[in-house]
């Protein structure tokens, strides 16, 4: 059953790519990609419940489905579905019918790589999956062929390839450290590495972990390795930005969390977690500084992604049931919310024909429905109640206050307030600053239904999850947290 579902998730986008490339018809390409995303979503929806019975391992132990992986796959599938709906409306606005099949083939390929990454059971194959996400998405970032987007794609591929090569070095060192325990030939699965970790040399293990953390941290967009992120996220088409932010970053976070679980099994002291917490806090700081002075609407969203990845890193770094549960919950909320924000930003960018916040005015009056959805999203993403992000950020804060790194929790709370004020100030400008009479801009284009529907689909669950969160899901998070933390290191169990 689980095997069939995983196969469906892999085959649906793959089949879509092949058919799109064979048929080369724009409308058919839209439909095929959408169908693939719906199928992948439905299959992924069933995975978390099925994964609870224990880790399912397939294909000579190269593929794994565990509760953690299932959750990340579900998040990726959600944003792939939403972005596929939105892409239909958005890409038609570009009026480049001929290149649409190429776009959708790449898009389905990108969706596929983000779905496959969390399934990888071998540390080496996981590295390859992450590398592939970079290659496919670089071409999506460069899709519009504007000088800016090509510049962004070039920086993206150079910075991330450099970073990820550090992760490869770390992977090799992990294998080397394991070869003293397990002999020269062994399968480098997560479970095997974790089992052998207590006997591995601590110095090598720590060096390898730090390399992996910096390497995959580049891909996650943790500061100071985040430099590619604002460029790539702001220059790609809006559906691509949503997929980058909502799916790709999570897929890379998987690696950090799995390696953290491995090194924690060896009881290495506080250093690995401390480094992760420092990186997370620094990401929040950098994001706050750039959000305050931001002029580009999509760059604003991109720095907000740096912020939320920092929060997630803090959650996993604080650890314990609370920290892990908060981070996982945050992953879902961020996925939904950041898609909503990028959809709104993309539509406004197309309507006003500018990326400059200063030129976008009177959004609320001109777009009563879409404007309201986008504003609600902005309130949600800054962590205000009653939306889901309030609950998840609060949970992570609680985890921080209970653990040894109280300073990080305090820094996090302060920076979240700064970001709240700065982010909403930009929205105040866009909604409530009156347009100067002499510079009445051209009438804005209306936003179509294909672009509005995914915004509803993202906002409604966000509101529901903020108000009501089923007990079963907390238990599910608890199971993941217990799977990731060595038994003696758990801090606090009560929720």
């Amino acid at each position: 059953m689980v095997g069939a579902l995983l196969l469906t998730i892999v085959l649906a986008p793959s089949a879509a790519i092949v058919l799109i490339l064979l048929a080369r018809r724009p409308r058919l390409a839209e439909g095929l990609n959408l169908a693939a995303s719906v199928i992948a979503f439905l299959a992924a929806l069933a995975l978390p419940a099925l994964s609870l019975t224990g880790a399912h391992v397939y294909w000579a132990s190269y593929i794994i489905l565990d509760p953690f992986g299932a959750w990340v796959i579900l998040c990726s599938a959600i944003v792939y579905l939403l972005a596929s709906i939105y892409a239909i409306g958005y890409m038609r606005l570009l009026e480049e019918e001929d290149s649409l099949p190429r776009f959708y083939a790449l898009f389905a390929g990108f969706g596929l790589t983000t779905l496959v990454g969390p399934m990888m059971n071998s540390a080496g194959l996981y590295w390859i999956a992450i590398e592939l996400t970079t290659l496919v998405s670089a071409f999506l970032v460069a899709f519009e062929r504007a000088p800016e987007s090509i510049e962004a794609a070039w920086k993206y591929i150079i910075v991330v390839s450099g970073g990820i090569s550090l992760a490869l070095l770390g992977t090799v060192l992990f294998y080397w450290a394991g070869s003293f325990v397990l002999g020269p030939h062994y399968d480098m699965t997560w479970a095997v590495l974790r089992g052998a970790a207590p006997q591995m040399n601590p110095a090598v293990l720590l060096l390898a972990f730090l390399l992996v953390l910096v390497g995959y941290g580049t891909k996650v967009g943790l500061a100071p390795m985040h430099t590619w992120l604002p460029d790539a996220h702001s220059e790609g088409p809006a559906p691509v930005s949503a997929l980058l932010s909502g799916a790709l970053l999570n897929t890379a976070m998987v690696g950090i969390v799995r390696y953290l679980a491995i090194i924690e099994a060896a009881h290495p002291g506080p250093l690995p977690r401390l480094v992760l917490v420092v990186l997370g806090a620094f990401s929040l700081f950098v994001a706050a500084m750039f959000i305050v002075r931001q002029r580009g609407i999509k760059r604003l969203m991109a720095y907000s992604s740096v912020e939320h990845m920092g929060i997630m890193a803090l959650g996993f770094g604080f650890g314990g049931v609370l920290g892990v549960a908060g981070a996982l919950y945050h992953m879902l909320n961020h996925t939904l919310n950041k898609s909503l924000m990028f959809f709104g930003a993309g539509s406004m960018m197309r309507s006003y024909q500018t990326k400059d916040i200063g030129a976008i005015r009177d959004v609320g009056r001109r777009f009563p429905v879409v404007g309201a959805l986008w504003l609600a999203g902005a309130v949600a993403i800054t962590g205000a109640p009653p939306f889901g992000l309030f609950a998840s950020e609060f949970t992570i804060l609680r985890a921080g206050l209970r653990g040894p790194q109280v300073w990080a929790a305090i820094v996090m709370a302060l920076l979240l307030i700064v970001i709240f004020i700065a982010f909403l100030n930009h929205f105040r400008e866009m909604y409530f600053t009156p347009t100067p009479a002499e510079a009445e801009p051209a009438p804005a284009r209306p936003v179509g239904a294909w672009c509005a529907v995914p915004m509803w689909l993202a906002l409604v669950p966000l509101l529901v999850f903020g108000l009501w969160w089923p007990e079963a899901i907390w238990q599910y998070f608890g199971a993941i947290a217990h799977g990731l933390t060595p038994s003696s290191g758990v801090i606090g169990t009560g929720l």
Binding site: G124, L125, I128, I158, S165, V172, P184, D187, A203
Partner: protein, 226 residues
């Protein structure tokens, strides 16, 4: 563990190849001519292929012969050929504006090697393998990593950046042949193919840079800031 019981001849052969590769990395670092980078890279790849074969012979890992052949074909022939095509398209024979002079970057590179040696010696000592070829392999691996990053920062022609990344990968591959010769075959083959795809993607992006941006120097890529 292979390195624990190596014959002196094998150990010196491995050391020789590792040191020669490191020297070639310095050749790349010291030269401003793009073609020199390319030849040095191709030669380095052939040395790595030779190392794979040597490790396969002395350590009785027959699958490493396959890796050696693939390395020679992919890294030694196909990648340099693809890169040569990119260089021809570029119409740039050398780095025009250097951020750091070649001589200064050689000195920085030397410091990088010293740093790598300190780290490698420390790790070798904690493992009880001080003075063996392991220390050398780690040194070369880490210093090629650092030299690759140095090339990425001080060079800004598109092709030098690609080569900088490939030096990073070469360092890892070289070290892993000595440290973990038993790494699963599947992984090594997939990583080789992966490299090929990366270079193909870089080629395509360079083409975009030429036709849509009009420059291949990262110094001029400064539209996106803040």
């Amino acid at each position: 563990m292979l390195v624990a019981h190596l014959s002196p001849l094998a150990a010196s052969l491995f050391s020789l190849i590792a040191i020669a590769s490191l020297l070639l990395a310095f050749v790349m670092l010291g030269s401003r001519w793009l073609r020199h980078y390319l030849y040095a890279f191709a030669l380095e790849s052939w040395l790595i292929a030779a190392l794979s074969a040597a490790v396969g012979y002395y350590g009785q890992y027959p699958e490493l012969y396959l890796i050696a052949i693939l390395t020679a074909v992919f890294r030694g022939c196909l990648l340099p050929y693809l890169l040569l095509r990119i260089v021809r398209r570029l119409n740039v024979a050398r780095e025009l504006h250097v951020v750091v002079q070649a001589s200064s970057s050689l000195v920085i590179g030397a410091f990088a090697v010293v740093f790598a040696l300190v780290v490698a010696t420390h790790i070798g000592d904690t493992l009880g393998l001080g003075g063996t070829v392991v220390v050398l392999a780690l040194t070369v691996m880490l210093s090629m990593k650092l030299i690759g990053f140095l090339m990425l920062t001080v060079r800004h022609e598109a092709i030098s950046q690609i080569l900088g990344l490939l030096v990073l990968e070469n360092g890892i591959f070289l070290g892993s042949q000595i440290l973990v010769p038993g790494m699963p075959l599947l992984l090594e083959i997939v990583i080789l193919f992966d490299l090929l795809i990366i270079v193909a993607c870089f080629g395509l992006l360079v083409q975009y840079l030429i036709s849509h941006v009009g420059t291949t120097s990262s110094l001029k890529l400064r539209r996106l800031v803040g």
